[in-house]
């Protein structure tokens, strides 16, 4: 037999102990008691989704909505391993070019269409249709040659090159299964809506743009993934997600009992929740890449390793995080999130926060003069680096953090960090003209390898710092081709050593996290395993 089965528990426990520092996924039982059925809840969320079609998903903040009415073929458990969902298993051929998936029996879309191999094929075919989901077709499905229906319960994915990330795609919102009937008939397919349906435990039955979404229970649901707390239909009769963009308003609505759950609790509001015995707060680190500053190596001054190292030494990250986020932020040491199984713990405490070292590095690099304002100068030009922040995408007070970094590098090393908060068009113009030195980013991919490919590969879609290093490309390609998780972890650890320790291409700042504040009467409040974002409403219930 050429094919071999991927174990669901492929990651050695040792590796997890070394690399994983996530908190418990499920909140303590609290005062809610035992799960019971019935009732409705209102959850105030920060972000109104741009689309309700999971194939078009692009907002990590909307992920908690997707899994209410849609499901994927696979999902992740809390160890970062893939487990079955709508697929009961999968086999990879030895050459890594074919994946054969067996599908669960007895699943129906909520419009009555049966879920089978033809439905899976219809989803893939749609995703690869010109103009439907260009991002997915160009990245996640880049190596997909075609999908074959073997029998009603079996599909085969044929690849042009070994690509283990196809499995991550099968567990992603974009890989969620949409009813073929919806794909054919929906009025605004790309926008989604009540007529774009999946197989999930809830059915979207009301959408008031600008105000709220309402889901009702799918009574026929009986195919929960092994990661869920229970099986069968959802506990709740229904749930309303209300869009409240202002954090003060969300917290006020929670403390006054008008909503029972909120997500997105800024550091300043944490004491309000902690001080209230009727409420509790849980948080979890997101998967993917940490929020980091990347240094543009294609132009001075960051083409010089010493200047990159100096910038990093000039910033005392813990002090900045405390001043901006109090003690709610988790420092990042690598561009890989500490929640990822690929996180390289060896990087911890290996660099940073040494102003004397920063200054001596800059002296060595020739930035020896100082101008009247105290900035370093070389050959008559000031040591200036530019960071453009695109206002629509600034979150987590990253604009404030940038100001703190700006003050720190000026004070400790005489570096002039110019921060511009601009519209997306202006930021894009700076990228097009290569007129920036710092690029900031974090990504929420469940497989950190997907983020690294985009950020660091010479042909990567978000390689804004223009890294072009055959060594890095090779490691990334190996990481994408290998099906063995331990092997991948070794490859990505080597990559992190190269990128973070040796080449100092990046200044990792903090590991993005999500928070949920909820009334203690609500049970089953949890995060999605591995992704680290709030989970769907499936396990939620109302206690006495």
């Amino acid at each position: 037999m050429l094919a071999r089965r991927l174990s669901a528990l492929a990651i050695p426990i040792l590796l997890l102990a070394a690399g994983c520092s996530t908190t418990a996924t499920t909140a303590p039982a609290g005062a809610a008691g035992q799960p019971r059925s019935g009732g409705t809840l209102t959850w105030a969320i920060e972000t109104e989704p741009l689309t309700l079609n999971p194939h078009q998903y692009a907002q990590a903040k909307a992920r908690l909505l997707v899994w209410n009415s849609f499901e994927s073929l696979l999902t992740y458990d809390d160890q970062g391993a893939l487990v079955p969902w709508l697929a009961t298993g999968w086999q990879a051929s030895a050459d890594g070019l074919t994946y054969t998936l067996t599908l669960r029996d007895g699943v129906t879309f909520t419009d009555g269409t049966p879920f089978d191999a033809e439905a899976v094929k219809a989803n893939f075919d749609k995703l690869r249709e010109q103009g439907y989901a260009p991002g997915v077709a160009a990245v996640q499905l880049r190596n997909l040659k075609g999908v074959e229906v073997v029998d009603p319960r079996t599909v085969r994915l044929v690849l042009t090159a070994p690509d283990v990330l196809i499995l991550d795609f099968l567990a992603s919102p974009q890989g969620a299964q949409v009813s073929p009937k919806s794909l054919r008939e929906a009025a605004n397919l790309k926008a989604g809506g009540l007529d774009v349906v999946g197989t999930g435990p809830f059915i979207l039955d009301r959408y008031v743009p600008g105000q709220e979404l309402h889901y009702k229970r799918n009574p026929a649901y009986d195919w929960a993934p092994p990661t869920a707390d229970h099986t069968g239909p959802a506990h709740l009769d229904g749930i309303t997600y209300r869009f409240l963009k202002e954090s003060a308003v969300r917290i006020g609505a929670l403390t006054s009992g008008q909503v029972q759950l909120v997500e997105g609790v800024p550091a300043t509001d944490v004491p309000l929740i902690d001080g209230n015995p009727q409420l509790r707060l849980i948080r979890e680190l997101n998967s993917g890449s940490a929020f980091s500053y990347y240094f543009n190596v294609s132009r001075p001054p960051f083409d010089d390793l010493r200047v990159r190292q100096a910038f990093r030494e000039a910033v005392d990250v813990p002090t900045l995080l405390t001043s901006v986020y109090r003690d709610t932020a988790t420092r990042a040491w690598s561009l890989v999130s500490p929640a990822s199984p690929f996180y390289d713990k060896r990087l911890e405490a290996s660099y940073g926060g040494d102003a004397a070292k920063a200054n001596s590095l800059l002296d060595q690099a020739g930035w020896t003069q100082r101008d009247a304002e105290g900035y370093r100068v070389k050959d008559g030009s000031r040591l200036t680096v530019r960071l453009f922040q695109s206002a629509p995408f600034v979150r987590d007070r990253r604009d404030v953090l940038a100001q703190a970094v700006q003050a720190a590098v000026k004070q400790s090393a005489g570096i002039d960090l110019k921060v511009s908060l601009v519209d997306q068009g202006t930021a894009q113009e700076a990228f097009d003209n290569n007129s920036y030195e710092v690029f900031e980013n974090s990504r929420a991919d469940t497989d950190a390898g997907a983020a690294l490919n985009l950020l660091l590969h010479s042909g990567g879609g978000i390689n804004r710092i223009q890294v072009n290093d055959p060594g890095i490309d090779k490691l990334l390609e190996q990481g994408q081709a290998s099906a063995d998780l331990a092997e991948r972890a070794r490859i990505y650890a080597e990559l992190q050593q190269l990128v973070v320790a040796e080449q100092a291409l990046v200044l990792p700042l903090y590991a993005p996290a999500d928070q949920i504040a909820a009334s203690t009467t609500v049970g089953g409040v949890r995060f999605e395993p591995t992704a680290g974002v709030p989970a769907s409403a499936y396990d939620l219930w109302i206690g006495k």
């Binding site: 103009g131 260009p134 605004n188 308003v249 995408f393 113009e429 978000i462």
Partner: protein, 311 residues
């Protein structure tokens, strides 16, 4: 003297159409001149490859010259087709249509409340009868006009919703949910209108016709309400255009704070993301309403002031 009324109406309509066209074109040019293009918007901070760019350009026909796209837009506009939102992937008419009612309800409620409050305040505090009340009122008005409505909304919410639970924080259908947004939006309007109205009443009270009215034995209340206030209404009515602008601008903030549906957030999102079809539709719609409001204001002026009818 006196043109045929039909010609005057036609002139008005033609002027209105020109205003609409100028508004739409200006918005189009402004968006065109702003940095970045539609493709940048759709890519956002996500993955950016030449293939993805090519796909987006092909999907929306963005490779055509700007002039062609503009003429195509005008052509479709004339046929009642507002196009599709780049960002939301839905017909613009649908996006705007479903948000129109909540905005309209809020605007009408806030405008009514604002004007009513202003009238009451102006009449009660005009003249030199109660100088302390006048000072208090005038100070409060100034405070309301200068306070960002964002802050007014949060304070009202904190006290009346979060602390005393009198009104819900959000919700579109429930009438109770309309109260706080209406008050928030109405207060600055009331503040400014009250100042203008009182000023007008004060000046009217010094006019000879008030003396005449008083000498005819009319009570002070009738003098105020029937004569002085009517006189003071004229400058206030010319503020109708300003009122409309305030309502639309205020709606952006109010909707964000109160989690209300409405055109404000749609406009804000469309402008920040250069969602051209939505921006153009909102601008054209606003211009249309503006024309209607100003025309109505002119007509109301005719009703209020008989002198205007003769000219």
């Amino acid at each position: 003297m006196g043109r045929p009324p039909l010609r005057s109406v036609l002139r008005r309509v033609a002027a209105g159409v020109v205003v609409l066209w100028v508004a739409a074109t200006t918005a189009y040019l402004a968006l065109l001149a702003a940095p970045g293009d539609t493709v940048d918007t759709l890519i956002g901070d996500g993955v950016d490859t030449p293939q993805i760019r090519a796909d987006i350009i092909a999907e929306w026909g963005l490779d055509r010259p700007a002039v062609v796209q503009y003429l195509d837009y005008l052509w479709r506009l004339v046929h009642g087709d507002l196009g599709r939102s780049y960002l939301l992937q839905r017909p613009v008419a649908e996006v705007i249509g479903e948000q129109l009612a909540p905005t309209l309800i809020l605007s009408v409620a806030a405008a009514t409340l604002g004007v009513l409050l202003a009238l009451i305040i102006a009449v009660v505090t005009a003249g030199d009868r109660r100088p302390w009340l006048r000072r208090l009122s005038s100070g409060t008005e100034l405070l309301l006009v200068s306070t960002p409505s964002f802050l007014i909304g949060l304070v009202l919410l904190s006290v009346l919703s979060f602390r005393f639970g009198l009104f819900p924080v959000a919700g579109g259908a429930d009438l109770r949910a309309l109260v706080l947004p209406t008050i928030t939006l109405a207060l600055p309007i009331a503040g400014l209108l009250a100042q203008v109205l009182r000023d007008g009443v004060d000046r009217a009270l010094d006019e000879p016709f008030v003396l005449t009215a008083r000498s005819r034995g009319l009570t002070e209340r009738v003098v105020l309400a029937r004569h002085a206030l009517r006189h003071a209404l004229l400058p206030a009515v010319t503020l109708a255009g300003w009122l409309f602008g305030t309502l639309l601008g205020g709606a952006v903030i109010i909707e964000q704070v109160f989690g209300r549906p409405g055109l404000g957030q749609v406009t804000l999102n469309a402008v920040t993301s250069k969602d051209m079809p939505v921006v153009l539709a909102v601008v054209t719609l606003s211009a249309a309403v503006y024309v209607v409001v100003n025309t109505a204001a002119d007509l109301v002026s005719l009703v209020i002031d008989p002198r205007l009818r003769r000219s």
